[in-house]
């Protein structure tokens, strides 16, 4: 049964990932779908609500348009809608329908912008981006594509610097809420950053346009990694992967950021590794960047010897340890679990526990919108920085 999932049936799709990156960017976002794809995102994966004000729309494609061509209706509706809602750019998000019929999203986007300009609705020709998602991948792939599209379209080397640090990968779907973003910005300022920008939060396309001038890029989720690496290749901007969980990591991360802002080249080494078979064992099933920070926290502050990470989503080689597991099918994951000595602690989204065939000594539910949608969004703790030590101390040592 290699291809069949029995316990866990759904994960956020790539177009939801793309939308989670774009929908706070002040653009007009168009899902090239029949309605359900966009509905799934807005009502399932956007915990912020306020749906009425968002500039996020469905093209409401129907069979007739799919057969005859989607361009005409899409352009017509986009122009009519833009007149009422405005926006700094147009983004077209692909879905299974647009992928199967091979829609030229880039071309349509450009034509919409041209039409808006020709009809004097915009003063100058706006930019459009096309995120070629197809619903076949998970959210992380969609986010990666959206970040790439934003970087390709808007970074302008002639723009003067508006920020000194870029944080990429902090989206609601990965549990980055207002509080966690505020904590991150504060910590970066403590580390010496003067104008830290979190893409999609305090950073819109204006701030992104000056991204080539920043001193440091930080990827805080797996979907930001490709972009920070690309920006390094293109502009030589140093980058950091990860964010701190726990007191020790917070001190070290702050120091690292501080050094990098001073232009020092620092050696990136693994914070910890699996040691001591007699010590406790933990498994973390989560998005890789967060899971790795949690792993270090458990090893450094809670005496866990073996901590393995498993993820349904992309796993970057630089963060992956020998026994980490990419969950591509449930059967192999079950085999993996059987092969391991029983874990004492399992940390995962509440929906994931149905895949675990035994009851570990301790389990900690850490909701992830990409897995359980917004159902537990408010029950998920913000454990950014030093708070993680306090949170896990309460649970692991005091049993709260």
């Amino acid at each position: 049964m290699a291809r069949i999932f029995q316990s866990l049936g759904s994960l956020a799709g790539d177009y939801s990932g793309a939308a989670s990156v774009l929908h706070d960017m002040d653009g007009m976002i168009i899902f090239c779908d029949a309605g359900a794809c966009m509905g799934g995102f807005v009502f399932g994966e956007d915990p912020k609500g306020g749906k009425a004000e968002r500039r996020i729309f469905t093209a409401s494609l129907r069979e007739k348009q799919v057969v005859m061509g989607i361009d005409k209706k899409l352009k017509q509706d986009a122009v009519r809608t833009y007149r009422d809602v405005g926006g700094a750019f147009i983004a077209l998000v692909g879905t299974p329908v647009s992928a199967v019929i091979g829609s030229d999203l880039e071309g349509i986007g450009k034509e919409i912008c041209k039409k808006l300009y020709d009809e004097r609705i915009t003063e100058k020709q706006m930019k459009s981006i096309a995120v070629k998602t197809n619903g076949l991948d998970c959210y992380d792939v969609g986010q990666e594509k959206a970040y790439q599209a934003l970087a390709d379209a808007f970074i302008d080397e002639h723009t003067s610097a508006l920020a000194d640090v870029n944080v990429i990968g902090a989206t609601p779907i990965d549990m980055w809420d207002y509080n966690q973003i505020t904590d991150c910005i504060h910590l970066l300022k403590e580390a010496g950053a003067k104008a830290p920008i979190v893409w999609g939060a305090n950073g819109g396309i204006q701030e992104i346009s000056s991204a080539s001038k920043v001193k440091l890029n930080i990827a805080v989720s797996v979907s930001g990694i490709k972009t920070v690496k690309e920006l390094y290749k293109k502009y030589g901007t140093p980058y950091l992967i990860g964010y701190p969980l726990g007191k020790k990591q917070t001190t070290e991360w702050k120091e690292k950021v501080c050094q990098m802002l001073r232009g020092e080249v620092i050696e990136c080494k693994k914070a910890s590794k699996n040691v001591g078979k007699e010590k406790k064992r933990a498994l973390i099933i989560y998005e890789q960047v967060t899971a790795c920070a949690l792993r270090d926290l458990l090893r450094e502050e809670f005496d866990y010897g073996i901590v393995d990470v498993a993820s349904f989503f992309k796993m970057d080689k630089s963060l992956k340890e020998e026994n980490d597991f990419h969950i591509k099918d449930e059967e192999k994951f079950q085999t993996f679990l059987k092969e391991q000595e029983k874990y004492d602690l399992i940390i995962a989204d509440p929906f994931c526990f149905s895949m675990i065939s035994y009851e570990p000594e301790k389990k900690i539910m850490l909701p992830h919108i990409a897995v359980s949608a917004s159902i537990y969004a408010n029950q998920s703790p913000n454990i950014f920085g030093e708070k993680a030590s306090l949170y896990f101390q309460k649970i692991l040592r005091e049993g709260k």
Partner: protein
């Protein structure tokens, strides 16, 4: 934008539009949505399609789609407690492009069958838009499963892309579900009445069950069937009572396939209509049904609601499990002052309701809810006391209270329940004792799901 440019009409204007043949395109355009759909889409969700397939007893269900589409069905199934016997296959691009969907499914089903004990008697699958475009042929798989395993097979098509077609996917899925019944159409019919198209959970204590029981008829809903034999017995019923338009297509199929006549129960939030439905049923069954005490109770409830609603104004949402203009008529008939109705589209099949509104509540305005102009309207909306169902365009109305309604009632008991709910909510408003939403506990770990201001560092 000038309010004249907004898609807001009187019922008289709507009636004139719907009654006038051969309108020019420019005249028609005034009543059609422009721009992208406002305030989102897919609000109702489509996960219910898979859930309905899972109502078939002794069945398993497999969602065969891209990973992103699975979310709709999977969540609905989970939230409603259908976790056993539900499986997912995430399709890859190669499988779709290479036309291998059926091959993959067949392989997985055969593997799965080896692990299941007892074996399922029915396998249903949900496919999505992408399959609607590539049109996989499942006939061979269906034949193989029947021939080699005696397993029935059915496909639920979740194709929002066909939402404007004459026969929609929402018509097709009940057709598929009830089409799995195996029954001899020539066999004498039992004193069994199928109730089809009900969304709410089975409740055999309502008057529909009671009065028909007293008359010697058993009422059966699909969810009451514990075994496939009980499900097949639905094919021996003497009548199908159809509650929703969605299920009409299935009822017509059952009339042809199993020779079961159907009666479209004119479902209304109105006790007089419920009574006339029963009268029609008495005629069809040639028996007398004792409904009087239930009728009187419903009448009293309506009177109480009317008293509480006096002096208040109401707006009706397009997001209800009701046809909004129909719900507006029903509430207006009770005595509610309906000032606005938010509809999804101006539909000819609703003409009778607009005509009723024109005669009985001419001041009620009709709003084309998904039109982009509603975003502008939202900035300075007209005042109203209550929204029946959530209405995004009224988000900025001060002191607006939202009344929630359960599923549209079909008999007197369910009618009384809806009225009770309205009464309870109206009473809360009267006493002003509805507690505010309890704010989340102030905690160092708390979340705040709101936007971060741009450019602020």
């Amino acid at each position: 934008m000038d309010k004249k440019e907004m898609k807001i009409y009187t019922s008289e204007e709507v009636c004139e539009y719907l009654n006038k043949p051969g309108l020019k395109k420019t005249e028609q355009a005034k009543f059609l949505r422009e721009g992208f759909r406002c305030f989102g889409a897919g609000e109702r969700g489509m996960g219910g399609l898979s859930r309905t397939a899972k109502f078939i007893p002794e069945s398993i269900h497999i969602i065969v789609s891209p990973v992103a589409c699975q979310r709709h069905c999977d969540f609905d199934l989970k939230i409603n407690g259908y976790t056993d016997g539900v499986y997912s296959i995430f399709l890859s691009e190669q499988e779709i492009v290479g036309g291998k969907v059926v091959e993959v499914l067949k392989k997985e089903i055969l593997n799965l069958l080896q692990t299941l004990s007892p074996q399922p008697k029915v396998i249903t699958i949900t496919v999505t838009c992408i399959d609607g475009l590539i049109r996989s042929d499942y006939a061979g798989l269906e034949q193989m499963l029947m021939k080699e395993y005696g397993i029935r097979f059915g496909v639920v098509e979740m194709f929002p892309i066909l939402a404007d077609n004459k026969i929609k996917h929402t018509d097709q899925f009940p057709h598929m579900v009830y089409g799995r019944i195996k029954a001899d159409p020539e066999k004498p019919k039992k004193k069994l009445i199928n109730l089809i198209g009900k969304i709410d959970l089975v409740d055999p204590t309502t008057d529909f069950y009671t009065v028909l029981g007293k008359a010697g008829y058993e009422v059966r809903e699909i969810r009451q069937c514990q075994t496939l034999e009980e499900f097949d017995e639905m094919g021996e019923a003497c009548l199908n009572v159809v509650l929703s338009y969605f299920n009409l297509h299935a009822a017509k199929m059952m009339e042809t396939k199993y020779k079961i006549p159907y009666f479209f129960w004119n479902q209304h939030m109105d006790f007089e209509t419920i009574r006339s439905n029963y009268e029609e049923l008495e005629r069809i069954l040639e028996c007398s049904l004792s409904i009087e005490p239930y009728y009187q109770q419903a009448k009293e409830k309506a009177e109480e609601a009317r008293r509480l609603a006096k002096g208040k104004t109401f707006a009706v949402s397009q997001r209800l499990d009701y046809i909004p203009v129909k719900a507006a008529c029903d509430l207006a008939a009770v005595g509610f002052d309906i000032v606005s109705v938010f509809v999804d589209k101006i539909d000819r099949k609703d003409l009778k309701y607009y005509e009723w509104m024109k005669e009985n509540s001419p001041h009620t305005k009709i709003y084309l809810a998904p039109d982009i102009s509603m975003r502008t309207y939202m900035q300075s909306p007209e005042s109203v006391d209550f929204a029946v169902g959530g209405i995004p365009a009224l988000k900025n109305v001060e002191n607006l209270r939202t009344l929630n309604l359960p599923e549209e009632p079909y008999d007197f008991t369910t009618y009384c329940r809806v009225m009770d709910k309205l009464i309870e909510q109206l009473k809360c408003e009267e006493k002003r004792d509805v507690p505010d939403i309890i704010s989340a506990e102030e905690s160092v770990f708390a979340r705040q799901w709101k936007d971060y201001p741009k450019g602020v560092v």
